[in-house]
């Protein structure tokens, strides 16, 4: 029997870990992808994702609209990624301009896409964090600007500008990478 997100949240609030596991399974893919692309490392993404889900579970009472659990939890994730990235920068373990700091994905991309994917990873890592954040939420995760504003705390005009600038920076960086 399939449960709605709101029903799963209600069950999780009463301590049903099965329900919370179902919520995690539903949002893991999107949340994990975002964290990985924001932090440039699978290991860091896994840690942040676990922390996000733990915080979400412990704060479910603060989720005022259970049907929008995903948007609410995305806000936690965005904050955890920001916090983790600040920590990594302080420890000099993450340098956006250092190509070696960006982990290549292990997924076997088609031969013709491999070069483009590497160029994308590099270009993405060079974007200012706020632009990368807005670009990924808008174009990769498919959130509306209202949802991104909720998740990031930024205003919609500023977000649109960040997305535009990110797209332009990527277009310039990836020029010549698209063949055929």
């Amino acid at each position: 029997m399939e449960h709605t997100v709101a029903a799963l949240v209600a069950k999780a609030r009463s301590g049903d870990l099965n329900a919370f596991a179902a919520l995690m399974a539903q949002f893991r893919s999107s949340f994990g992808r975002y964290a990985w692309q924001m932090l440039g490392s699978r290991e860091e993404a896994e840690e942040v994702l676990q922390d996000t889900f733990l915080r979400a579970y412990r704060s479910l009472a603060g989720c005022r609209d259970p049907g929008r659990f995903g948007a609410w939890a995305f806000r936690i994730l965005v904050n955890r990624c920001r916090s983790r990235r600040r920590h990594l920068v302080r420890r000099d373990r993450f340098r956006a301009e250092d190509r070696n700091g960006i982990e290549s994905l292990s997924v076997p991309y088609a031969e013709e896409d491999r070069g483009l994917k590497e160029a994308i990873d590099h270009a993405l890592a060079l974007l200012p964090a706020a632009q990368r954040e807005a670009f990924l939420l808008k174009h990769v995760e498919g959130l509306s600007y209202a949802e991104i504003a909720e998740a990031t705390g930024a205003g919609i005009p500023a977000l649109k500008m960040r997305v535009l600038r990110a797209c332009e920076a990527l277009r310039i960086a990836l020029q010549g990478e698209l063949h055929g």
Binding site: G15, M24, R28, G32, R33, E46, F53, I120, S144, E177
Partner: protein, 173 residues
């Protein structure tokens, strides 16, 4: 999904977006770790139903060992050695029900209801708590969040809700 874009990205950026969406999933390990941490959380009052899911994702031995740990739930009125009784009160004349939610009960609004103790609208509950600091708040009628004005505030930037902090000292008794 979002509204129509004001500016459609260039073809190379659209291709980049397609590839970024193909990012591999982190896998069910994440859920397993989270569930294990929730199940072994030392804080009292943590709900621990749903071990069946651990079995379903291959953690049967883990589930069994965690279940064997001996899980304690605290509710109003129960008390164990080393705990101190702490009284929480709030004035909420218009509320029809009030819950105490915090680190000590996993922010579960069903866990710790307050009782109306005065016609003037004062609500109260007494909890046994181990020494330590706890974040908490009150939930009025299931939807209105309120902090405790008699306690220090702890604004949690993750959730944006006003939250109070209580520190339970070690008993001198």
């Amino acid at each position: 999904m979002g509204e129509p874009d004001d500016d459609e990205p260039a073809p190379v950026v659209r291709r980049a977006i397609e590839l970024l969406r193909e990012q591999p999933d982190l896998g069910p390990e994440t859920e397993r770790h989270v569930l294990a941490r929730l199940l072994t959380d030392p804080r009292p009052g943590l709900p621990r139903r749903g071990l069946g899911h651990l079995a379903a994702i291959g953690g049967l031995a883990l589930a069994a060992s965690l279940a064997a740990i001996g899980l304690t739930r605290f509710g109003p009125g129960s008390k164990a050695p080393g705990l101190r009784e702490v009284r929480f009160t709030i004035s909420a004349a218009a509320a029809s029900r009030v819950s105490l939610v915090g680190d000590f009960n996993n922010w579960n609004p069903a866990e710790t209801p307050l009782r109306r103790v005065r016609a003037t609208g004062e609500w109260s509950v007494t909890l046994p708590l181990a020494p330590g600091s706890y974040r908490f708040g009150f939930l009025l009628d299931g939807h209105t969040w309120q902090s405790d004005p008699s306690r220090p505030a702890a604004l949690d930037p993750d959730f944006g809700t006003p939250t109070s902090v209580i520190t339970v000292e070690h008993s001198a008794l």
